[in-house]
């Protein structure tokens, strides 16, 4: 019984989005060259991950704050997650669980 609770707890921890970090699979220069035509928010997120990763979602959000001020638009976590999902699919970013 106790073992089963421990397994449940481990599973919960591994799927906790706060514990997930993201690393770049290519250099910042390569990543930005590939994403040259992307929107500035995408490039800001990619640069933060490739240059300073592994980073958590919260740390990535902090990196987007200057852009949030520059654009006058609130950038929330689901939006950031959506962009990272595309980078993972495109092989630019790795998700560390």
């Amino acid at each position: 019984m106790e073992g089963s609770n421990l397994t449940d707890k481990n599973q919960q921890e591994s799927s906790d989005p706060r514990k997930v970090t993201y690393s770049g699979l290519v250099s910042t220069k390569q990543a930005l060259e590939r994403e040259k035509s992307s929107f500035i928010l995408d490039k800001t997120i990619l640069q933060a991950i490739c240059e300073d990763g592994p980073l958590s979602l919260e740390e990535i959000r902090k990196a987007t704050l200057p852009l949030e001020a520059a654009l006058g638009i609130r950038i929330d976590l689901p939006k950031i997650q959506e962009i990272i999902k595309r980078f993972i699919k495109d092989g630019l970013v790795w998700e560390n669980k």
């Binding site: 035509s37 992307s38 929107f39 928010l41 640069q47 654009l71 006058g72 638009i73 959506e82 962009i83």
Partner: protein
């Protein structure tokens, strides 16, 4: 698929020329200005503010209302600022995909400038700025995916 065409109105061409000049100016001065994310990054920031100002004016002139849908707002932008000759909407995986065709504010296609492998497209930023201004503090931010060429494809998530 829905398609919308812009009406010809040469009297409105000055705004197009302003945007073309801004785009090519950013490309040509990118080293001097030391733009962190290139001319496209600079254009993105500037065009979001341009989009907000255009939306503000459309509201002031009562050409749009705050409860306008994103799709209707984009159609209005096409008509009012002659952003492109043609815009089409399709639904793909629950997302509205907007395809810009024959863009009329492209420094390369319309202006005829060599952009030296760079892009300086204001369309995504203008759309994002206009939507966020009209929809308030927490709009559904469009996912802007620019594939440069004669047919620029911009993906917008209008699901929220």
């Amino acid at each position: 698929m829905a398609r919308f065409f812009s009406r010809k109105d040469p009297g409105k061409d000055y705004l197009n020329k302003v945007v073309i000049g801004l785009g090519v100016g950013l490309v040509k001065s990118r080293k001097l200005l030391n733009l962190s994310f290139g001319p496209q990054g600079a254009m993105d920031v500037l065009s979001v503010w341009i989009g907000q100002e255009i939306a503000k004016e459309l509201l002031r002139q009562k050409k749009i209302r705050v409860n306008i849908s994103e799709q209707e707002l984009i159609e209005k932008l096409l008509e009012e600022i002659r952003m492109a000759e043609e815009l089409s909407f399709e639904t793909e995986d629950g997302k509205s995909i907007i395809t810009i065709q024959n863009c009329l504010i492209c420094p390369k296609r319309v202006g005829g400038y060599d952009l030296e492998g760079e892009t300086a497209c204001p369309v995504g930023g203008i759309i994002m700025g206009a939507i966020t201004f009209v929809k308030g503090e927490s709009p559904s931010l469009p996912n802007i995916n620019l594939k440069p060429g004669e047919y620029c494809r911009i993906s917008l998530d209008l699901a929220k």
